[in-house]
């Protein structure tokens, strides 16, 4: 098993005809992901390297039984794209697009939560991979290895770094999930931790957080109250100055809120092992298993 995606995942890519969309969709397919359709209004009937293109997600689903949407649509239209795939019946939507206005994001989450059963990963995230089964997004599959550790992170490159460290010392991964660097991501740390906790094939979790917001503190509460599996964590931004957005829209210390120190403290108190350097995650986990 794995969480959110596996060999039965059928992906429709919104924005497959764009440069990024095409590059990563074909990479995902080559890895073994069932990329069954793409959409682009006005381009229905065409195909890209054998992948049929539809005008809408609804048509794509009725023709191909796609159940997961991968969004590469530009920021201006990404909000509408997420609503479209949710309305069409996708149970899971992964949005890679960076730079969506916060108001659009907030409205989209609200609408999805109120009206649909869709789970949303992102926006502004690298997607996720269940090694050996499916890769939905832009994660480099070359560094992954199938196994029993779940990985969840707010940062793309740090996820890759952590996964690489794990693979180097022969610790495989069940699913690696990037929840993204925006202030208000769809699925949060807690959502992913809960899925890992109930997944029979996950025996441990690596969690990578960063400054800004309180989602790591909320995750710490969940770890303390509801997790039996060991968690190794790393928090980036100990030396980040307050009031500056450190690359990610959500990585900002506002006043005295969102500091790395508070997050590290909360995670330690919750019983997680917290390391000082992202390259130590693998070794720290190995010592617990």
């Amino acid at each position: 098993m794995s969480i959110l995606i596996d060999q039965n995942t059928k992906v429709v890519v919104q924005g497959l005809t764009g440069r990024e969309g095409q590059f990563h969709s074909l990479r995902n397919r080559e890895y073994g992901t069932n990329v069954v359709a793409g959409t682009r209004p006005g381009k229905g009937g065409e195909e890209v390297e054998g992948i049929p293109i539809f005008d809408s997600v609804k048509e794509a689903i009725s023709e191909t039984e796609a159940n997961t949407a991968l969004v590469f649509v530009p920021p201006k239209f990404a909000g509408e794209a997420i609503i479209e795939s949710s309305e069409a019946g996708c149970s899971f939507v992964v949005c890679i697009t960076e730079g969506i206005p916060a108001k659009d994001e907030a409205k989209v989450f609200d609408e999805i939560t109120n009206n649909y059963k869709t789970k949303l990963l992102g926006p502004n995230c690298p997607g996720l991979i269940s090694p050996g089964k499916s890769n939905v997004g832009i994660m480099p599959h070359e560094i992954t290895k199938s196994g029993k550790t779940g990985v969840v992170s707010r940062s793309g490159t740090l996820t890759y770094q952590a996964v690489h460290e794990l693979t180097q010392i022969d610790i495989g991964q069940s699913t690696c999930v990037g929840i993204g660097g925006d202030p208000v991501p769809g699925l949060s740390f807690i959502d992913i931790l809960a899925l890992f906790e109930s997944d029979d094939d996950t025996d441990s979790v690596v969690m990578i957080g960063e400054i800004g917001g309180t989602s790591e503190e909320e995750a710490a509460e969940f770890i303390s109250s509801s997790m039996s599996k060991p968690v190794v964590a790393y928090i980036a931004g100990v030396t980040a100055p307050p009031g500056k957005k450190m690359g990610h829209a959500g990585a900002i210390i506002s006043g005295n809120k969102g500091t790395a120190k508070a997050k590290i403290g909360a995670l330690k108190k919750a019983g997680a092992t917290v390391v000082n350097d992202p390259t130590e995650l693998g070794i720290a986990l190995k010592s617990l298993l």
Binding site: P75, K76, G99, I100, P101, A102, K103, D104, A106, K107, F109, D110, E111, T113, N114, I138, M139, P140, E142, I143, S153, R154, S155, G156, T157, L158, T159, Y160, Q161, H164, G181, P183, V184, I208, E210, I211, G213, T214, S215, E218, Y234, A236, G237, V238, T239, A240, P241, K244, M246, G247, H248, A249, G250, A251, G255, A260, N276, D277, P278, T279
Partner: protein, 378 residues
């Protein structure tokens, strides 16, 4: 992007939010413009700086005639307020304040809802109110898709112990501010104080506004505002080159790919006893041009004493990054030592490219910790 008070007030006027009559001046000659306006004394001279506590620092003065105005303007222009030099003054009509309230709108990250904070204890530090008298701070969570409900707002006004007589005017004001927050794509709209003047008129006396620059594509005025906000030379240069750069206080220049990895590099440098000179994310798919642009930006900062390039190859391939570093530095005199750490996809190939094309100022490190130690030790 944080706006100056006068910029926020321009937005107020666009959204029909009542604010005092005013002009903005850049120098004493500009004071003559006042003759053409119908501003009436007493006036308030306000330093335009993006830092709190300007009143205490002497950056706000009340004046009753032209002589006082010239003296005060002369005093405040050029003043250093906590490291911010005053380059502009907002001169506005003084208000006879009957009461002062506080209101703000933000996006609450935990609940994923908009959050309105309302208090009848305006004019003071709101964090102090929240701490000492939490009951005086009314919190209203607003569904982003449903919007602000009039009934809910009226209840909040009652809860804040604001007089019933003011209900109509204050509701109108709050709806206009909400309109600015949502349709104006602001991350923050804060008015402190929101004042009662002239027996029940509600007026926004101050403005603290942060714009969501991701929404710049639908707001022409964002770019106009941006032009008027001074940024340091190096940051401006980085911005023009499309690099994500933040200046810091230390001496180790940092270049990395991915915001998380760069943040983490700053931390590891600090653990090794150094201090980063900057945050610089070259993003995914870094090419030779990106690497040379990044190095040019660091060359502009005289505080940089050594440079650490920290790359984790995912889809970005380390061999291509290594070629980029070689192209950008070949035959050039570098002002400092560069420590390069490559890991991930094609890291071995990348390292051998650097070894085959040696530069006396470039050292290759095996891992992040060693790289940081070497960059700090230079």
């Amino acid at each position: 992007m944080d706006l100056f008070e006068y910029q926020g007030k321009e937005l107020y006027r666009k959204y029909n939010i009542l604010t005092p009559k005013s002009i903005v001046i850049n120098n004493l000659e500009d004071l003559q413009k006042i003759d053409g306006t119908n501003l009436n004394y007493p006036l308030v001279i306000k330093a335009q700086v993006q830092v709190g506590g300007r009143g205490k620092a002497g950056g706000i003065k009340l004046v009753n005639n032209e002589g006082e105005m010239i003296t005060a303007s002369n005093e405040i222009l050029g003043m250093d307020i906590k490291g911010h030099i005053v380059e502009k003054l907002l001169i506005e009509e003084a208000s006879e304040i009957e009461d002062e309230y506080y209101i703000s709108f933000t996006l609450d990250r935990s609940s994923k809802q908009y959050l309105m904070l309302l208090s009848s204890k305006g004019g003071m530090d709101i964090e102090e109110v929240a701490e000492k008298n939490p009951d005086d701070l009314i919190k209203v969570y607003i569904s982003p898709s449903k919007g602000l409900d009039e009934g809910v707002l009226k209840q909040a006004i009652v809860d804040a112990k604001i007089s019933k007589n003011l209900e109509v005017n204050i509701c109108k004001m709050i709806f206009s501010l909400y309109d600015l927050f949502t349709n104006g794509d602001c991350d923050l709209v804060e008015v402190n104080p929101l004042a009662v003047v002239n027996e029940g008129q509600i007026i926004a006396l101050d403005s603290k506004i942060t714009l969501d620059m991701n929404a710049a594509f639908r707001h022409e005025e964002f770019e106009e505002f941006e032009k008027d906000i001074p940024i340091p030379k190096t940051e401006k240069m980085a911005k023009e080159k499309g690099l994500n750069f933040i200046k810091l206080d230390g001496s180790v220049g940092i270049i990395g790919n991915g915001a998380g990895l760069v943040m983490s590099t700053l931390d590891v440098v600090a653990q090794e006893g150094g201090n980063a000179a900057n945050f610089l994310d070259i993003g995914g798919g870094a090419k030779a041009e990106t690497v040379s642009s990044a190095l040019e930006v660091l060359e502009d900062d005289s505080n940089v004493k050594s440079v650490l390039i920290n790359i984790f190859g995912g889809i970005t391939r380390c061999d291509l990054v290594a070629n980029g570093i070689v192209d950008a530095t070949k035959g050039k005199n570098l002002p400092w030592q560069i420590v390069v750490r490559l890991d991930g996809t094609n890291a071995r190939e990348g390292r051998s490219i650097l070894q085959e094309n040696p530069h006396e100022n470039i050292i290759v490190a095996e891992n992040m910790k060693d790289a940081a130690r070497m960059a700090v030790g230079v």
